[in-house]
């Protein structure tokens, strides 16, 4: 289950000659590689490792372990990585409930955590931490964007999310920007696979749109069942509901669905034009948003490692905070709470050469931060 990526001897033999600043950095990558959420974790790992590989940096060691989407397991792995593997930085957790279990303990022990996805509200505001960085977004962001979009287009919306921290953040974010009427607000079980009861409620609600946040396998099941139900109300959602990891399994049922994302594969910038083909060449599939976020997290760590020693946590985090990277998302910088400030786009699911993917329709938010940054005083 472990992948050690190391060729440190080479760097040692080269000695002090070239990489004078370089200090070995050990990164613990905890992510979901088994179970229903494994697709997200695999993309996270692959995106992260792509950046490490491209850098050619031999001083970076990455230890990868599978959390099986279980909070208690994630905590055990983090403890083991900190105590026996002696990692300097932790990263990779996909799910907010797992992140909440790991991050407070890790930063209390002086370890840096760079999140590749999960971004619960609880760690973005008052309880933010100088050692906790988020390379993805704040959980509410993509949902806020859909709220903003829905306000312009729809009058009465049915909203639904799973009952866990990111699900609550999702609907809170949507409601923060949505001005129309809510038909109903439904929380489903995490990992639920049958949505017949909820689809019947959508049908009966009289809404003119259904906003649905169901990441991974949950979204696949919902979209397939929705397509069969004969309900004609359009489904909108954050990018996760229609991201590249789930689109092939949903099939044509997803065509035309509108979603929000801080990245799409057709985004026009040099870094993205380099990233997408590189990912495809390496892994033989299109990258998802999770891969991009992890790629950027790795780039951030690489950039900081090239300028400061990871043993000097203060200097290292200061370098991280500068976000001196070329992100496939284009513009990227950190807010005062070390969560991104970035553009958020409206995307639509289309078919290109027989492959389902997302394309950008318009920009919803420019330089969007989050609602919790003002409460972060650390």
């Amino acid at each position: 289950m472990k992948t050690f990526l190391k060729a440190a001897t080479l760097a040692l033999t080269l000695g002090a000659s070239s990489l004078a600043m370089a200090e070995p950095v050990k990164i613990g990558l905890i992510t979901t590689l088994s179970g229903g959420g494994a697709g997200l974790g695999v993309d996270t790992r692959d995106g992260f490792m792509l950046a490490i590989k491209q850098s050619g940096n031999k001083d970076i060691t990455v230890v990868t372990e599978d959390d099986a989407q279980k909070p208690e397991l994630a905590v055990q792995i983090a403890d083991k990585m900190i105590q026996s593997d002696k990692v300097d930085i932790l990263t990779g957790i996909v799910w907010s409930n797992l992140l909440m279990a790991v991050v407070p303990g890790a930063v209390a022990q002086g370890k840096i955590y760079v999140s590749t996805n999960a971004a619960p509200a609880a760690l973005a505001g008052e309880k933010c931490d100088p050692l906790y960085f988020n390379a993805a977004y704040q959980n509410d962001n993509l949902h806020e964007a859909m709220g903003e979009y829905a306000s312009k287009v729809y009058k009465k919306t049915f909203i639904m999310a799973p009952n866990y921290p990111a699900g609550k953040d999702s609907l809170t974010g949507f409601k923060r920007y949505y001005k129309g009427e809510l038909a109903s607000e439904v929380y489903t079980k995490v990992g639920q696979t049958d949505y017949a009861a909820e689809i019947a409620q959508i049908r009966a609600s009289g809404a003119d749109a259904a906003f649905v946040f169901l990441p991974g396998g949950m979204g696949i099941a919902f979209m397939k069942q929705y397509a069969q139900s004969g309900v004609k109300i359009p489904v909108i959602g954050p990018g996760f509901s229609f991201s590249q990891d789930v689109l092939p399994a949903i099939g044509d049922a997803a065509l035309g669905a509108k979603a929000s994302g801080q990245w799409a594969k057709d985004l026009d910038n040099a870094a993205n034009k380099k990233f997408v083909p590189a990912f495809q060449a390496e892994y033989g599939r299109l990258p998802s948003i999770y891969a991009v976020q992890a790629y950027d997290a790795a780039q951030l760590i690489l950039s900081a490692a090239s300028k400061a020693s990871v043993k000097d946590v203060k200097a290292f985090t200061a370098e991280l905070n500068k976000a001196d990277i070329q992100s496939p998302r284009g513009k990227f910088k950190f807010n005062t709470n070390r969560h991104p400030i970035q553009d958020i786009y409206l995307t639509e699911v289309v078919k290109e050469n027989g492959t389902l993917t997302n394309k950008i329709v318009e920009t919803i938010f420019t330089d969007h931060g989050d609602a919790y940054a003002k409460d972060c005083k650390k």
């Binding site: 609550k168 929380y187 696979t193 009861a197 309900v231």
Partner: protein, 306 residues
């Protein structure tokens, strides 16, 4: 709340119940006849779904996939019965649980090794696409109606098999006294393998039919397995009739609970809170139901004879 919505939700409950019945029937049959707790039953469900998805992708036909799912699950069932399960009949339940739990891990990792971590695509056959109108203005997906029908056919078939055929007679005999039936010259080993393969095939069928509705992925069997255990505990372990009634009960209570509880709560608390609390309560509802039934009838609704 309209009549159409109520009709749709009741059908949803029945459909979930029928699907659970397919899982629970095999589980309860295996427990009833062989006294074995088979945690790997969910893995056989997954095997059925993966077999259906890969054969459907290869040949383009869902129906061939369905046949493949029955064959693959039955074969996997027979294989593990002969290699592993056979050694467990004389052991106590803890050994059985440990060994079949190990089988879950082996099946999951084996499937991941073969098919990868990303969910597979399996679509509903063209014949059963779309929704049909029902009396009362309700619309209902044709495929879910087909699942209800298939489940009803299986229930009837099982009833006929067990009460009308020689094999069924032996199964019943094996349930009530396995030493005696062996002494009468029935090949009990083959009978056990057959029953196990039959149970596995039913799980595989359920997996394939549900796979087209949900996502075909590693680990898809375990949540269903837990529900199937609730069903057989409610229905009375070892009883097919109990499994049918229990499955319909669990399906209906779960579906209607998810739909009605938040609405009832919305009368007393703000709607967003009602959604949260109602959703959490609804997911507990079937376990509460199980606790109540066990308090009144500790051996389930239709206990098989001891």
């Amino acid at each position: 709340m309209t009549l159409a919505l109520v009709i749709e939700q009741v059908l949803n409950g029945v459909q979930l119940g029928v699907m659970l019945f397919l899982m629970a029937a095999g589980l309860t049959l295996i427990f009833g006849v062989m006294g074995l707790i088979n945690l790997a039953h969910g893995s056989l469900y997954m095997v059925g779904a993966f077999a259906c998805a890969s054969v459907a992708a290869l040949t383009g036909s869902f129906w061939l996939g369905l046949v493949a799912s029955l064959a693959a699950a039955a074969a996997a069932g027979a294989l593990i019965e002969i290699t592993v399960i056979r050694r467990l009949y004389q052991r106590d339940h803890l050994d059985q649980v440990l060994a079949t739990f190990a089988l879950i891990l082996i099946f999951s990792e084996g499937t991941r090794w073969l098919f990868g971590s990303f969910p597979l695509y399996l679509d509903i056959p063209p014949l059963l696409q779309g929704a049909v109108g029902l009396p009362g203005g309700a619309q209902y997906p044709l495929y879910r109606l087909a699942i209800i029908l298939a489940g009803a056919l299986v229930a009837f078939g099982l009833y006929a098999l067990i009460s009308r055929t020689r094999l069924g007679m032996r199964i019943r005999a094996g349930e009530s006294d396995r030493e005696m039936i062996a002494a009468l010259g029935v090949d009990i080993r083959t009978l056990y393998t057959l029953v196990f393969a039959l149970g596995a095939a039913l799980a595989g069928l359920a997996g394939a039919m549900v796979g087209a509705l949900q996502s075909v992925q590693v680990g898809m069997g375990e949540p269903v397995l837990i529900l199937a255990f609730v069903v057989i505990v409610i229905g009375g372990i070892g009883s097919i009739k109990g499994a049918l009634i229990g499955a319909l009960l669990v399906g209906s209570v779960d579906t209607l609970g998810r739909f009605l509880l938040p609405q009832l709560l919305a009368l007393v608390v703000p709607p967003d809170q009602a959604g949260l609390i109602g959703g959490a309560l609804a997911s507990m509802l079937i376990y509460i139901l199980m606790a109540i039934i066990l308090a009144v009838k500790p051996r389930g609704l239709f206990p098989a004879q001891a």
